[in-house]
Amino acid sequence: MSASLLSLHAVSKNFGGLAVISDVSFDVPQGSRTALIGPNGAGKTTIFNLISGVFAPSEGEIRLEGQTIDALPSRSRIGLGIARSFQNIRLMPHLSVVENVMLGQQSRAGNLAGMLTPLSLFGRSKYRREAEDLLESMGLSTYPGEVVATLPYGIRKKIEVVRALVAKPKILLLDEPAAGLNNTETANLRDFLMTISQSGVTLLVVEHDMSLVRSLCDHAVVLNFGRKIYDGSTRTVQEDPAVLEAYLGTRQAEKTRNQAEADHVA
């Protein structure tokens, strides 16, 4: 396995007395497409919030390329190469598509001169052109000036990924990118994410759609009740007893296992 880009070392997070994440460690290999899966309430989104800096871990350490990032404010992390999308689409509803994407350029253009340069007063600025070109290359050039609130759900999901992508991240955290999409849209999204991965961006994906996980990701980390229960290939994840138990409950897991053994014997 190649070198790790992002790693969690014995990370815990408590909200008051409630331990949401307990002693979780895992590596996201450079260039991988890693899935972070687990039942509802397992702490997947909390892990994303810890990595992106919305919360600080109670214990443990998060490292990007070997450097600890826990002391950095959340707004500095996108500049280091950590960009994310959200479980519920969080585009700016009153901004147009291209303006939402231009917001993703902030980490590269947020100095005083960048802040005071008009984006579209006298023709199109280079930032606006860049955003429009990226939208076009991702097949989203239809409505650059349209206000986001009026667009269909699947399109908005993609725009959110493009907004994260325009920051030129090393790692992209995607929180349930396929939630609420139909089969065609999901297949479409999978190809879209494959293209991104092939351009050299490491993906860390929270996803419930197991067929998408199997077809997209090469590495999986499974959480249950805030603890890591599996870390390995996506091929074997559905045969792992601990994972089966977490998803199906003990008795159902035994039944499934017995069934599998019976099938094997037969």
Binding site: G53, R75, M92, H94, L95, L103, S120, G145, R163
Partner: protein, 306 residues
């Protein structure tokens, strides 16, 4: 030009500048109900420098603007720690503190007010209002304007995009304070007299209404709101009697007609305000509307070239 129309133009120009001063924090997601306080700071700074030291108008107005801007910057840090209705109350309380301080200050004339020796005609506020309008349009087209509007929509995500939202909020509040102070300084010279009673809570409410009803999504909103709500009462004042006597003649009543008379124009204004809130809460001018106009223009252009 008659004194009446000169006065209307001056107050219109001042209201536009004042509305932009409140628009900047509101577009960033902070309701500022302390407009009168910033305006009073600018007006009294200008009045004091003009009356005591006889300084020229550009200096007095400039100092008024800087004073309001610096005070805005300083109070932004504690005030912007509050949210929602508490922020509204905090800004409101700030205006009351300013009013109370001036009312109890003998140097500034207390309840008697101060006369301002240097007079400016209507052209000066109008020219300044045009410059301020252009400045705000420029500001909203920059990345700073983009981050302001993004902060308004979602602070958490804007922060994660790498924006220093605190810096954006404080800057918008302070620049807005400076513009309100500029409006105050011009007011002092245009009307040659300042008294603290004319910077009351009602003024803060009105200017916030200009902005909210005009629309907070684009820089067109405050312009439309300030123009509409400044000119409407005057329009009603001059046309209401005509409309009424025409109606009276139509139904055959002779002699003087009872209410609604002249002073009812504020009732009509209030009713219109409520109607706006009900039927178009996002304000008169919205982004979708502007985009649609632009889209229509660009497609029309394409048809011509094709």
């Amino acid at each position: 030009m008659s004194g009446y129309w000169a006065g209307i133009l001056s107050i219109l120009a001042i209201n536009v500048i004042f509305a932009y001063g409140i628009f900047l924090p509101v577009a960033t997601g902070q309701l500022n109900l302390g407009g009168a306080g910033f305006q009073a700071l600018g007006a009294y700074s200008a009045a004091y420098l003009s009356a005591m030291y006889g300084l020229p108008v550009p200096v007095t107005v400039g100092v008024g603007m800087v004073v309001a801007g610096v005070v805005g910057f300083l109070i932004a840090f504690p005030i912007l720690r509050t949210r929602g209705v508490y922020l509204v109350l905090a800004t409101f309380a700030f205006a009351e503190v300013v009013a109370g301080t001036i009312l109890n200050s003998d140097t500034l004339g207390g309840a008697m007010g101060m006369s301002v020796p240097a007079f400016i005609d209507w052209e000066v506020p109008v020219i300044v209002a045009v410059c301020v309008t252009l400045f705000v349009f420029y500001l909203m087209s920059t990345r700073f304007g983009l981050t302001m509007r993004a902060t308004h929509d979602d602070e958490v995500v804007t922060d994660l995009m790498g924006v220093n939202i605190r810096m954006v909020q404080v800057s918008a509040f302070a620049i807005g304070g400076a513009l309100a102070g500029l409006a105050g300084g011009l007011y002092a010279h245009a009307f040659s007299f300042v008294e603290i009673q004319s910077f009351n809570a009602l003024i803060s409410i009105y200017v916030l209404l200009y902005v909210l009803l005009g629309g907070t999504q684009t820089a067109w909103g405050p312009l439309a709101g300030a123009a509409f709500f400044t000119l409407l009462p005057e329009f009603l004042r001059s046309f209401l009697p005509t409309v009424k006597s025409a109606l009276a003649a139509l139904v055959g009543i002779e002699g003087p007609v009872g209410p609604p008379d002249d002073s009812w124009r504020f009732v009509i204004l209030g009713a219109l305000t409520i109607a706006m809130m009900v039927f178009r809460p996002e304000g008169l001018i919205t982004r979708t509307m502007i985009e649609r106009l632009r889209f229509r223009r660009s497609t029309a252009g394409k048809e011509v070239t094709a």
